[in-house]
Symmetry: C2
Subunit: 137 residues, 2 copies
Amino acid sequence: MSIDEVLRARDFRVTRARQLVWEVLSSSESHLSATDIHERVHAIDDSINASSVYRTLALFSELDLVRESHLGELSTWEPAHEDEVIHLVCERCQSTTHFNTSTVDRLRAQVEEVAEFSPTSIDVQITGLCSRCCSTT
Amino acid sequence: MSIDEVLRARDFRVTRARQLVWEVLSSSESHLSATDIHERVHAIDDSINASSVYRTLALFSELDLVRESHLGELSTWEPAHEDEVIHLVCERCQSTTHFNTSTVDRLRAQVEEVAEFSPTSIDVQITGLCSRCCSTT
DNA sequence: TCATTTATTGCGAACGACTTGCAGTAACGC
DNA sequence: GCGTTACTGCAAGTCGTTCGCAATAAATGA
């Protein structure tokens, strides 16, 4: 289902701003800040305004098309993904990769049992050096 | 070792702003944003300016006296502690408790081995309902 | 105790990310 | 095409945070 179809299916208009924001988001390897997204969108079509980017991100967020994280100083955005995933943020090249492990599930179980806490969401952020940056120290 | 002694030992001056920021931070149960800290400091001594709070936080951060997290919309601060602690944030009463588990160590080992990532800090935040709020639903 | 030195502060202006109100534009249904 | 109105661009505004600079006060030594 393309972004156009998703929007139409939910009675939202298909606009160039929305198409471009989605294009930029889904073609990026790492998480992007709103400013990054605006820059990239602007490079393709300089008539798209920053506020449209913000409004589009807010809409996509409500439609659960994107996921906002607060990993660094700025919030960053990426296409939504289901799983509880760990974010590995490289402190040198700023790249963000995902790491999937059942340890997060174990964590949830432990917290429920031992701390008597009922979790709704788990956010794991690990900062450090990615393999590429680590090897060129 | 009091905050005064720590500062003197590292050749920094002991000032009212620094003392109050430390007092507020170390007597708080939960994480505080810079604005929160300023408000509380200001309530005790309204002559202390916001920029002093920011500068003090930056200093404390460099001295590893405090820990900054980027898990919410604003950064929040707390007295420094070991990595191996998980933050349990209750979404109803906003209280933050710490949970200590060796699972975090296991996570670190896994990430190093499987993802070839060399971690410097691990931040785990779990939001949900604390036992008290959960029982009164 | 007081004078000297200079780290630290308060203040105000500036910054950058983000939001908002409004008038114009363009997407969609007919 | 044509009308309706959801969206947009623009500009002004908000808010957390930073910065330059002159004034202040913490430490040191006499």
